[in-house]
Symmetry: C2
Subunit: 456 residues, 2 copies
Amino acid sequence: MKKITFLLLLISFTGFSQISDEEQLKAIYNQALTNSKCYSQLEYLSNTIGHRLSGSAGAEKAVLYTKQQMEQSGAFDKVYLQEVMVPKWVRGGKEEAYIKVQGKKIKVPVCALGGSIATSKNGVTAEVIEVQSFKELEQLGTEKIKGKIVFFNRPMNPSNIEAFHSYGSAGDQRRSGPKEASKFGAVGAIVRSLNFRLDDYPHTGATSYGDIPVEQRIPTAAISTNGAELLSKELKQNPKLTFYFKQSCYQEKDVLSYNVVGEIKGSVTPEKIIVVGGHLDSWDLADGSHDDGAGCVQSLEVVNIFKNLNYKPKNTIRVVMFMNEENGGRGGDKYQEQSLKNNENHIFAMESDSGGFSPRGFSIEADDSSFSKIAQWKSLFEPYLIHSFMKGHSGSDIQDLTSRRIVKAGLRPDSQRYFDYHHAGNDTFEAVNKRELELGAATMTSLIYLIDKYGI
Amino acid sequence: MKKITFLLLLISFTGFSQISDEEQLKAIYNQALTNSKCYSQLEYLSNTIGHRLSGSAGAEKAVLYTKQQMEQSGAFDKVYLQEVMVPKWVRGGKEEAYIKVQGKKIKVPVCALGGSIATSKNGVTAEVIEVQSFKELEQLGTEKIKGKIVFFNRPMNPSNIEAFHSYGSAGDQRRSGPKEASKFGAVGAIVRSLNFRLDDYPHTGATSYGDIPVEQRIPTAAISTNGAELLSKELKQNPKLTFYFKQSCYQEKDVLSYNVVGEIKGSVTPEKIIVVGGHLDSWDLADGSHDDGAGCVQSLEVVNIFKNLNYKPKNTIRVVMFMNEENGGRGGDKYQEQSLKNNENHIFAMESDSGGFSPRGFSIEADDSSFSKIAQWKSLFEPYLIHSFMKGHSGSDIQDLTSRRIVKAGLRPDSQRYFDYHHAGNDTFEAVNKRELELGAATMTSLIYLIDKYGI
């Protein structure tokens, strides 16, 4: 017994514990790169199930598949579904659009924005007024806007280094553009896709009419960046051209869906919970492989790695596949509601919802002292080219999660390519690189390991 | 005059100079992301010119195009061609291969390795012996190898974080495998493509017969990773299966080609030279957009950015498009030869030849004091997510460049996807992301700016 005490003292004095963390991280990355399941799980989610828009058959299949994967892994003490009512928006038939100018019809790629109403069966045809901002909209006023289609065409700012900053500052056009345009009597809205590239993919995403009465809502579509450039160019030459678009999307009643939850009971302090997740729903134009199939399978991989390394977490680890991040956030809300109801004590939450690209670090919601503690671990991550520990947004599904004292983090992969695929028809399995996905999973696992071991 | 002296003193005491570097780097990145030419130049090199294997029509066109781009930019004081004789290897017709097993012929994708001889017109058909290493080859010996095709099938090690380490440790099979196999009487060699992914692209690259007499040389091809997996699986079931492959490649006489050089005379110490470049030649299976069209246009962009910012370098800046890196390295050798002949004083050399992916930092060849000086600038790069300053290999074309006291660096982009494309049919323009390419150019420009300003 004395010998053991001496050994423990020796360990704490010689920094053996630090060496051991280095070894553990090495083992974690090694597992991820040589023995992971996440890439084949993503292939199944993407290529066998396909898109997973809330309320769709794909979303339902994805719930069953990930629940089954959790159960079959043998890694969890408990796997269960958490009921949540979700909105069901349906795209309907393929959208059509063209620019009508000097007797010619020039087809352009569009897609309805999520939550939009349909056009009439004959579509909408109207003159177009191009704006860069809501301020410009206001300056133009009802007189110049009434009866027209408002075309929001402010590109994402290319000069930001972090692509999400550009998304943040251009996103108002998609989220609120149609609502704002309808206030001035517009008959439709067209929004430039939130994509740095010039290409032919329209990018969908949620728009909100806010408190605009139903009868005043206007149909609204995203146009590809190439389409937007063309429309803008044609408008300069022919301000009186007309634009036609047709879409048949509709909102159904809310339907029952689920968050999928897998839980490993903590071996020392089971009342303390660490949650890690991604969102299982996706947009419907492709398979949502980056957004957010990647985050789901990476979260599953965290537990797979722990199991392969025979690591028994001290705290309870919960893996959550959140439902309905894209057009409602109901899954995140439900998780939070249940957590409050059960008076749960979450100490840490992590979400991966920025794509399956090469990981660079974390953005962290924490007070200064918790942030400093996490930042102290930076050197452990350097061999894995993970350098970026910044304060910032964690993730949509966990942003409102409150607890006695909680730290939240989002995995931050390289962001440069994310908006090439985001909410578009090319967000497919082929766009995800196996190693990059695995490195992201290892990076998540490493931080969870350290937090589980040392607390916050 | 006194006022100016006071101002200069003030500047040096208040650290204004440091702030100015921050502003300058910000301006450099901003230029690269909003006003660069490199992406459209790459599009021309890739989609209009195409592959640029040494001695090919494409290589010749690329020499003229980049020379013209340098001249038209108005940024250089002098643009010239540096004559260099290069080897000319020609692939000939499309290669064919199949596994013949139990009466079936299963086609597999192969391509001749660069420098390989052809098979006879009827191809080679022989039994296959699979090996993982040269040691295994030696243990098997002539008795078991003679008359067979040796199949080198050691995969790239997935557990390395830095993909180039795995390339380094698996590359012996391609570079020297055929030579080693021929010593034991093999009639051909098949090498697993140096690619982490399982896909259908065979990856070419140079092989060397070394001092093996011409009559003992054996034809040698790369097989796609999927093909290699299949062949290995079939071999386990049917060790007596045969493999057929046919290729008609040949070596012509050396031909005249060129390095393309653009020079800005230094405003303060013109005798000190900073060189930045990439290699203009590529393999012939695709456009060589990552390898190394990207490095070429990024090097051109360095000077474009300086011009747009009206920055006059103190030292002479030379942009070099090196010829023949892939299968001879003659351009690099010639540049070094001329530099020695002219008794030139190179203080810094940088090459970008690791793909046009998101930049992470530099690998640097320098003594400790020079390395420390460069590493002091790390914090200036952090806003651009450039964190990695490591000692290591600079670039093939500059590795032998000697001078009185020279520091050399290679741009290190994210390496995870590089070997998906390297030397393969999918190394095309579409595989390069505009922002990632531009960020790489800005990162190169920033380090060159700092070295130009402060010396080493």
